[in-house]
């Protein structure tokens, strides 16, 4: 387009700024500010001293303080919540990886009766409405004396992330050419060795992204733990954060520090993952 509009006077390769271009960039700037503002506000409020939070007119420039973080992490049982959150997420993700690896290998590489049906089951399980199953889950847990149980919660989160993990790994395994595996077997590997030495290393990115997505899901889960784990000692950071606000009334500085602490791991993981997050969707949903 720019080549047509080039006149001898305009020697630069870039086209001159037109009103359309300015409007475009202005809209983009406004949108960027709108989308990032809540995150920015959370972070900046968490660093403000109390006196600069309780103001009618918000303060944009201030001397940062870490006082709010001391308050937030000084809550009773804070480290129990951290430990519970880590146990539950790590347990769920690791279990899901092991179980999904076996299942997805079978689904991607083997033929057996019922394979198509199983693929369908996995697909449907991904959409399981966990949020509306909390009542039934509560009754089951109660009947088996497993309320306030970290192991049960870990297992539930494991099944929450399992279908997605199977689905993604199945794609990754299928993308490894069968010929590679065959070559290994011709060279004398057993099928198990071929899997370990050829497919497994190629799955690294897949394992990475599925476990990170599993981490995000388990870390953020709210409905199930709200229903099942009423005892303080068995709660996770999700509940700590929602109850923080009520417990601390209007100490918004500390509440925002708590939010920041809760969100930070996810934000980091997510920025790390973003390429896959977008690309993965389009790989399937939009034909190139």
């Amino acid at each position: 387009m720019s080549t047509h509009s080039q006149t001898p006077q305009v020697l630069r390769r870039r086209k001159p700024l037109r009103p359309g271009g300015i409007a475009k960039n202005l809209t983009a700037t406004v949108l960027a500010v709108l989308f990032v503002f809540p995150v920015y506000w959370m972070f900046s409020s968490s660093l403000k001293p109390q006196s600069e939070i309780m103001t009618k007119d918000p303060v944009f420039l201030f001397t940062p303080t870490t006082g709010n973080y001391t308050t937030a992490t000084g809550v009773d049982l804070f480290w129990t919540y951290v430990r519970n959150s880590l146990t539950v997420t790590a347990g769920a993700v690791l279990l899901a990886l092991v179980v999904a690896l076996a299942a997805s290998f079978a689904l991607a590489r083997m033929r057996f009766r019922g394979r198509k049906g199983l693929v369908l089951v996995v697909m449907m399980a991904q959409m399981a409405p966990w949020e509306v199953m909390v009542i039934a889950m509560y009754m089951i847990a109660r009947d088996n004396d497993m309320l306030n149980s970290i192991p049960l919660l870990t297992l539930i989160y494991f099944v929450m992330v399992l279908p997605f993990t199977i689905w993604t790994l199945r794609g990754f395994i299928a993308a490894v050419p069968v010929e590679l595996e065959e070559a290994a077997q011709i060279d004398g590997c057993t099928r198990g060795q071929a899997f370990r030495k050829v497919i497994f290393p190629l799955l690294a990115p897949g394992l990475m992204s599925t476990s990170l997505f599993g981490f995000i899901t388990a870390w953020n889960e709210f409905a199930m733990i709200l229903m099942l784990n009423k005892e303080k000692e068995s709660q996770t950071l999700t509940l700590w954060l929602t109850q923080f606000q009520t417990a601390f009334g209007s100490d918004w500085g500390a509440t925002m520090a708590a939010s920041t602490l809760f969100a930070l791991p996810v934000l980091v993981v997510f920025l790390f993952l973003q390429r896959r997050a977008v690309g993965g969707m389009t790989a399937g949903a939009v034909k190139g």
Binding site: F105, V132, I216
Partner: protein, 340 residues
């Protein structure tokens, strides 16, 4: 952000697996596993016999116990009367479809249904509309500006729901909230101590802002990613034929990205309809139970009112409505898989 919007690739059938007709595969010697004698069947199978079933068993077993069983239990519970007394004595009473007849005859239930549907519709329309527009904008931006906007979207997308709900409560705080300040600064009267959570409706409006803010990035970024796959020669051709922007969108962009639009729309319908954390954590379904959507309604009937059987019936009805949306979604995905 929407609960599951982080699970983006959920919708991404990565690759069509095991579909490559196995001429080369069948040459594989059944090494590694014990060669199990198989009955000669019409369809050839790869080595294994029992092996694939062993590999898949743990997955199936855990889903059966922790997913299928709770679903079945949910249905059973919906035919029982389990109130506080029965809950303590652990003797549920069979009452057939009484929970359902009670619900269907209850005006409150219908209010919640209408509210949930309206809430979902409003959210999905806004998410898809704004998401598409931002996607189109991203496609026309310069490199630097695109990066800035993408990063901002990414931040909103990544925010954990519970954290963003907390932040939105702070943004819309009655006394020191920055939104009230903004409204005053812009010259609107009556925002000195405006309570944004004064009614169920206004609470849901804030929830909508939150959900749209958190879900638009998913649509916008994927929309943009999809747009880059539409060949530029198609735009050229449209321009040569004298099509304007509007026309180009509807006759070039939309038909190319139709599967994307359809799949994303249904995904958003499902996600918003079953959203729990955003609605519940924002104002606990209040004030006066005025911002309850179906999942929150079920939770409060069960947990708050100790009507467990009734709550189970609500969740069964909710799942039935979800299944209607899901069946469209699955049909789209399956069609897509076949075409690939």
């Amino acid at each position: 952000m929407t609960v599951d919007s982080q699970g983006a690739p959920t919708a991404a059938p990565q690759d069509a697996s095991g579909r490559a007709p196995g001429t080369s595969k069948t040459l594989l010697p059944p090494s590694g596993s014990k060669p199990v004698p198989r009955p000669a069947r019409g369809r050839r199978s790869l080595p294994g016999g029992a092996l694939p079933y062993l590999l898949i068993a743990p997955a199936i077993l855990s889903m059966a116990v922790l997913l299928l069983y709770p679903l079945v239990r949910n249905v059973i519970l919906s035919f029982q009367q389990v109130n506080r007394k029965e809950f303590i004595t652990r003797r549920p009473e069979w009452i057939g479809v009484d929970n359902y007849t009670q619900l269907l005859g209850d005006a409150d239930f219908w209010t919640v249904v209408v509210r949930s549907v309206a809430f979902t519709a409003a959210n999905v329309v806004l998410i898809m509309g704004i998401g598409t527009l931002i996607g189109l904008l991203l496609n026309r931006l310069g490199k630097a500006m695109r990066l800035v906007l993408s990063l901002a979207l990414m931040m909103a997308w990544a925010m954990p729901i519970v954290a963003s709900v907390t932040v939105f409560r702070w943004l819309f705080d009655e006394q020191f909230g920055v939104v009230n300040w903004l409204m005053r600064t812009l010259g609107f009267a009556g925002y000195d101590q405006h309570n944004w959570f004064e009614s169920g409706f206004s609470t849901l409006v804030i929830v909508t802002v939150l959900v749209v803010w958190g879900s638009v990035p998913f649509v916008a970024l994927n929309m943009y990613a999809g747009l880059t796959t539409v060949g530029s020669e198609l735009y050229e051709a449209a321009r040569m034929d004298g099509a304007n922007g509007w026309r180009t969108f509807w006759s070039v962009v939309f038909p190319n990205l139709k599967p994307f639009f359809m799949i994303t729309t249904f995904l958003e319908i499902i996600w918003v309809f079953k959203a729990f954390a955003q609605v519940y954590a924002m104002n606990l379904g209040g004030p006066d139970r005025g911002s309850e959507t179906l999942p929150v309604y079920a939770y409060i009937e069960g947990q708050g009112q100790a009507h467990y059987g009734l709550a189970a019936a609500i969740s069964v009805l909710t799942i039935v409505m979800l299944i209607a949306a899901m069946s469209f979604y699955f049909r789209l995905i399956l069609k897509q898989e076949e075409e690939q």
